[in-house]
Amino acid sequence: MSTPKATDLGGRALDFVMGVVEAPINGFERLMGRKRMPYLFLAPNLILFGIFTFLPIAIAVGYAFTGGTGLFVSERPFVGFDNFRQLLQCEDYLRPGSCRESLFWTAVWNTLWFVGFNVAATLLVALVTALILNRAMAARGFFRAMFFYPVLLSPVVIGLIWKWFLDRNGLLNAFLQMLGVPPEIFLLDVGWSRFFVVVVSVWFHMGFYTLILLAGLQAIPKDLYEAASIDAASPRRTLFRITLPLLGPNLLVVLILLMIRSVQIFDEAWVLTNGGGPGTANSFIVQYIYQMAFGSDLRLFGLASAASVLMGLVLLALTLIQLRLGRKMES
């Protein structure tokens, strides 16, 4: 409103562009009839999906059966199940060192441990926060926004902020020194670095799950709580007999969603731990795929695709469970 000239000019420019775009589209309509228009409107979307989503899936499966370092299918020899054999050949799966692809199995075990701790910790923190925020609480909006804020940050930013916080000269060490504890280089210690990868992940994502659980809690009918208070039920009894059972389906959905996302841990851990360090203590499956395909000059696309296919199968199984649960919830 304050600059009518600028908006007018912008509007006219937009009208001009649309006039140019409109002419061929209207031509198509006159030629093919109105009934065919939805196909034209869908075309850009479907073409992009076809090229950048469905074609890659087809290629992924195909590439997993080829070897060599060539880029295109024509340059790549067919090797059958060799890539899968290389990934899965192992004397003792519990000791990655005894496997042919020891890096892969290190990554698998690191990922499994991470998923276990991360899912448990995130679920617990998000559930407690959602339960507290669901009480008739002053400043609920403020706290909800506060916990949600990290969700919007970039993984690189989060990795760097925490790297600085945990630095040898960082705030955590300064705080520990005040308590008389000697400083520690947390990210160079195997145990501490793994611990903080989980902490950072919970810090990053808990706000998202809190929001979903809070929406679930607010959908529980209020009269159930009134009935409970008339019966003088204790708060603990109300929690275990009303709140948690009715929240059950939401909890399951959050659980599966968390698992699907935890399996794919990469960005923030990669930045925080300088690419999976110390050593391979924080190297996860996605990092393995990334390094096999793009890291240094390896370019082992076949092996990386085979690992992607294996991870994809696990994620697919989790997704199907999620869909099945969703359908159960609706019925």
Partner: protein
């Protein structure tokens, strides 16, 4: 609701009037600790980003950005550092000429006479609050961060614009027409929600190489334009627009595209706004895909550039933190103003 409450009443309000239970105390403790846990690392990084290079590695660190004060003294070429000196029970500000072992030679900067020898135990550096703006200006002028910033802005803007147009067109077709294969196409689009980038990143890279978009900004814009979440969100919203409006326009001989452009799109504005906010956040923060596709430095986005920079200059935390803040600031501003849309949008669709 909380209007007209005194701050004390606001803070001490409980569920049951007049009684503060253990649960209330624990709840507040949890929320306040949680808020601190969110804020402290971010604020700490923010404060550190204003510290001069010499101060940032000081341990134990000071909270606020401070720096030693220097002053030019007649008779000396280089500026001298200022110290508070305790001489004979008097406290004075003096400039240090040189330091020999445990003795420091100090002179009065306003009245330079012969230097006084003072025990180093009795002196402390004078520090003042300083904001090291060079942490922000140096990376933008001397390093490539201006390029990274321009690339990020370009990608975010163009990709968001294309995302809105392409997905709105598809949503229009899927909500306002009956045609063969409608349901199958909808299911097909929604099913791509289940395919994470991490699973298809290797072949998606090969496709991008194949179509000649590797190491170009278009290589990160175009593959991410078609969004199943976007189609779903817009379609659900367009379903609420009455079909009578469209029929009326057809009676007036409006073309189908004109109906989309003049009637449906303006009415979808709220949903478009939500999708635009998300699209901006996705693109601005995106890391793994640009990391794979972009290889030359002049094409890096802010996130990829930041990651590369911290690998090369890992000791220059003052620059790294300043650029981290540069990347975080727009997101924070967007969140402060649009917090309500974002949280309700996520609660409504479960997307992120």
């Amino acid at each position: 609701m909380s209007q007209g409450l005194s701050p004390i009443a606001f803070l001490t309000r409980t569920r049951r009037r007049g009684r503060i239970g253990v649960t209330d105390i624990l709840s507040w403790a949890w929320l306040i600790l949680g808020t601190l846990a969110v804020l402290v690392p971010v604020v700490w990084a923010g404060l550190s980003s204003f510290k001069p290079a010499a101060e940032i590695t000081r341990f134990p660190p000071t909270l606020l950005p401070r720096a030693a004060v220097q002053q030019t003294v007649p008779g000396f070429d280089a500026p001298l550092s200022l110290w508070t000196v305790d001489v004979d029970g008097q406290r004075r500000e003096m400039a240090m000429v040189r330091r020999i072992g445990l003795k420091a030679q100090m002179i009065d900067p306003s009245n330079p006479g012969p230097p006084v020898s003072v025990d180093v135990k009795n002196i402390a550096p004078v520090q003042r609050l300083t904001i090291a703006t060079e942490n922000y200006t140096d990376p933008l002028t001397r390093f490539d961060f201006l390029t990274f910033l321009q690339n990020s802005v370009f990608v975010t803007f163009v990709a968001t614009l294309l995302t809105l147009v392409v997905n709105a067109l598809a949503a229009f077709a899927l909500s306002k027409y009956r045609f063969r294969g409608e349901k199958a196409i909808f299911v097909l689009i929604i099913s791509t929600l289940m395919i994470p980038l991490t699973v298809v990143m290797v072949p998606a890279y090969l496709v991008v190489v194949g179509v000649g978009l590797v190491d170009s900004l278009w290589g990160i814009i175009i593959p991410t334009v078609a969004s199943p979440t976007g189609v779903f969100l817009l379609r659900q919203y367009m379903l609420t627009i009455p079909d009578e409006l469209i029929e009326a326009a057809r009676v007036d001989a409006a073309s189908e595209f004109r109906i989309f452009w003049r009637i449906v799109l303006p009415l979808t504005a709220p949903a478009l706004a939500v999708l635009a906010i998300f699209s901006v956040l996705w693109r601005w923060n995106d890391f793994l895909w640009p990391l794979i596709v972009l290889s030359s430095r002049e094409n890096f986005t802010l996130q990829v550039g930041l990651n590369a920079f911290q690998g090369e200059f890992s000791v220059q935390w003052n620059y790294i933190l300043a650029m981290t803040f540069l990347s975080l600031a727009p997101v924070t501003v967007v969140f402060l103003f649009l917090q309500k849309y974002i949280t309700t949008g996520i609660a409504g669709t479960g997307m992120k």
